[in-house]
Symmetry: C3
């Protein structure tokens, strides 16, 4: 079976956000999948999806500090007419990626004990972000 839907995320401030529950609660159809996959695809070029620690908020803030330091707003960018945070956001989006593929077994995604789904919001005012979720598998 194949099932595809749009998940519209609520607007978030710049930084990394744990969105496991916001995403999975939008996919009740997953319970029908015995063995399969969930594909999450973010339709943006200045935000990202990644998997990381699902518990301690300081991991997310340390991650944000790392990226602010290594991909600084004050770079010598040609592409600057959308604001100082725009070109760094494009770079972070490519470094982290915008797509996750998660294995499904017996209706649930097989995340590790400490794995959570993170949204990287790399713009100061990014607005609501959109994910295309595609489920497939044996029902």
């Amino acid at each position: 079976m194949w099932h595809q839907k749009i998940i519209q995320l609520k607007e978030k401030r710049r930084g990394f956000h744990l969105i496991t529950d916001e995403v999975l609660s939008a996919l009740p159809e997953m319970t029908a999948v015995n063995v399969g996959q969930l594909h999450l695809f973010l339709q943006h070029t200045s935000a990202s999806l990644t998997l990381n620690e699902n518990c301690d908020q300081t991991v997310r803030s340390d991650m944000e500090q790392y990226f602010l330091r290594t991909v600084p707003d004050k770079g010598d960018y040609q592409h600057d007419y959308e604001g100082a945070d725009d070109m760094p956001a494009h770079i972070k989006s490519s470094l982290l990626g915008v797509s996750l593929l998660l294995p499904i077994s017996q209706g649930r995604v097989l995340l590790g004990t400490w794995q959570g789904i993170w949204l990287g919001e790399h713009r100061i005012h990014g607005g609501g972000r959109r994910i295309i979720a595609t489920l497939q598998g044996n029902s």
Copy 2:
């Protein structure tokens, strides 16, 4: 249905290149897919595939400058017998990745408004690069 084919890209100079049209025009079979996925897999270790802005050329040149600066040719690399651009190319390939998975609906890939497919050519003389494209879905 499953459909797999080789896409041979034209040789490109070092830097980031928008290849959306070059790739998608090689896949007329996609129009038969109602709901599905397109997997693009680059068979190389010194180039990359990523999604990013599809319009302004300065985004691609700023991206290239960022990677030339943070993964410099003049690193203190042991692996240097293939040229100063070789080891940095391997690093960029792993940072950016060589594989993209794109959702398909009604015969078209669901890229966001600003998303395009980029080839990162990280060698000075990389030659023509090869992608394995795998289509699957409901027809």
Copy 3:
């Protein structure tokens, strides 16, 4: 057909390791797939999976040196109670990713001539790591 299994990797020291044989030898079921995909999903947040050069060991040691230099243990991290190598490991895991999707044709993964599967072990004592392997395709 769908086939899913757990691959338990042997414990490895910090650094990058070529695990192509360790992974593929655990998947004899792949020979039954005519056209399809192999998904490898690492259930951890302080290690990574990537594709890179399958021959020269210095590529793996240069890669490790690059990441030790650019994501240093001596960062100014808030999240430090699991050791100085922990937060850098989380950052490297997101930079490199934990998931690979490989095309299959006639029972074999279509890796390029120089491509191998690498485990990035980013902890000093990471323990044995676990991969969820999901095979699908036409048999």
